[in-house]
């Protein structure tokens, strides 16, 4: 275990805990408006203060964590479910037209400015959490496909794969039984990184009004609400911003830490 992993794991666990706790308990009802108490700075009663409708921001942050985690996690899921099989197939059929087709399509998706396409998708098919998940998820596919193919290619050269081939196993079985388990560490680390990027992307989409729609709370929309009030109620912008930063920071540190922990050979090479 290393420092990055401990600190990152702690921050990530904190956010996850807040999200899970919000299902059974929040200090206040996050949706309850209470105009007389509006725009309070953080205090003993409202730990993170209140917003322009007098809603308790601590409760909103807790429930908002749910949205962030759900959107980013499902987007990573989409990327893994489609990207990993594509990458495995490309590596198994390396050098053939199938490999070429998969990798060129990957390049093409990379060429699309992800944010613009995410905005296009959510704008064309209507804003909402589901479309945000799809929009972010699509751009995770080529990431996982590329990482999987790259690592799988070098595995295919190894003796134990040769042994499996000699034993009569087909490419699909070798991919599933020998290649994939050896890629698990790498994919977990990449998943953590994509997860943190997903949190940022979700916040951006919600900020411009294309993510989760009211009444589902989200950190990005809290920031959008704060924009016009930042001069007299800075806590409205500071607190959701801190929530995003600490979550992303935690996940990134955890990713770095996991990489070092799972594969000590990479320790010296990290960027």
């Amino acid at each position: 275990m290393n420092r990055n992993l401990i600190l990152g794991g702690f921050l990530s666990a904190l956010v996850l805990l807040a999200a899970l706790t919000s299902f059974v308990w929040t200090p206040f009802d996050q949706a309850a408006m209470n105009i007389p108490d509006k725009l309070q700075s953080p205090n003993a009663l409202h730990w993170f203060g209140t917003d322009h409708f007098g809603r308790d921001m601590f409760s909103m942050i807790m429930v908002g964590a749910r949205t962030s985690i759900a959107v980013a996690l499902l987007a990573v899921g989409i990327g893994m479910m489609l990207g990993i099989p594509l990458g495995l197939a490309a590596a198994a059929r390396r050098g053939t037209w199938a490999d070429e087709l998969i990798m060129r399509s990957n390049d093409l998706v990379f060429a699309f400015p992800s944010l613009v396409i995410a905005i296009l998708i959510t704008a064309v098919f209507g804003p909402g959490a589901v479309n945000a998940i799809i929009a972010i998820g699509i751009f995770n596919i080529p990431v996982f496909a590329r990482v999987t193919r790259g690592a799988a290619l070098s595995l295919w050269e190894r003796e134990f794969i040769m042994a499996a081939r000699v034993a009569g196993k087909g490419a699909a079985r070798i991919s599933a039984e020998h290649i994939l388990p050896n890629l698990a560490n790498l994919l977990i680390v990449q998943g953590t990184i994509q997860f943190s990027l997903g949190i940022l992307a979700e916040a951006g989409l919600s900020y411009v009004g294309l993510g989760a729609q009211p009444p589902v709370p989200s950190w990005g929309r809290m920031l959008a609400d704060a924009q016009t009030m930042v001069s007299f109620a800075p806590h409205m912008a500071l607190i959701p911003g801190m929530a995003i930063i600490l979550t992303v920071l935690g996940l990134n540190l955890m990713g770095d830490g996991l990489r070092d922990w799972l594969d000590p050979r990479l320790r010296e090479k990290r960027p």
């Binding site: 613009v116 912008a237 930063i245």
Partner: protein
Amino acid sequence: MLRYSLKRLISLVLSLAVASLVIFAVIEVAPGDPATFMLGLNAQPDTVAALRTELGLDLPTVERYLAWVGGMVTGDFGTSYTYRTPVAGMIMDRMWVSLPLALYALTLSTLIAFPAGIYAAARRGKPGDAVVMGATQLGVAVPNFWFAMMLVLIFAINLRWFGAGGFAGWDKGLWVGLHSLTLPAIALALPQAAILARVMRSALLDILGEDFMRTARAKGLSRRQALWRHAVRNAMIPVLTIIGLQFSFLLAGSIIIEQVFYLPGLGRLVFQAISARDLIVVESVVMLLVFAVIAVNFLVDLAYALVDPRLRQRT
């Protein structure tokens, strides 16, 4: 070199063709008819039909696609549904905000990242390295639109050094224009600088372990001389790739930042067009951004081949 360039060029054209098909298809399946949207729900069916004919919406899909692509190649992006002005002109106007903003941000990001990355690599494992690396960890975690809001709060509202938003225009002089783009450019540059500094550092660390670095030290160069003369130059290849990628990212990424600062750039154009169902504008701007990304990648590839002859051998 010619063969290599030709191959890259063919793949560039193919990518653009597929990209245009995808964008066209997404817009095609979009719910909502532009003509109905423009005239309102209570419009007479024959008025709607007349407008559809006028906009060319009643033509077969294939014909409309070809007309769109053909028009773009010749510089005619069609006519905006809502503003009734040529799309190409609207895009050009907005480019005068978005392009300088992206370049400004790229310059700032490079100016911050190079010294930071070189410093961290030179002090590898020492406290200075840890401080820079910690700062970059924070830098990549900060959403740029939130950072933009904080900049507005500090430098526009409290210190009043800058305006809180809007764009002064270029006709009042270069400095006035640059001044109003400064806060947005800083907001865009910070996360990019963090990534670039990390790339710079790791590229340098890779090279510092090479044999020729030992040779350089052995022939009597000091650490500092060896670092500047040999390592930094060789680290440029991966760094230039990232800079190329970042430019297109900044161009597209300015969309959200433009919202924060109410800048009249491409991003605001896209948002207005999306809410007004002005699909031809959306299509064209997205295609243009994709073109920018693909073209920059193409140029980076060519630049590689010029620098490193070994790459020309490969496809």
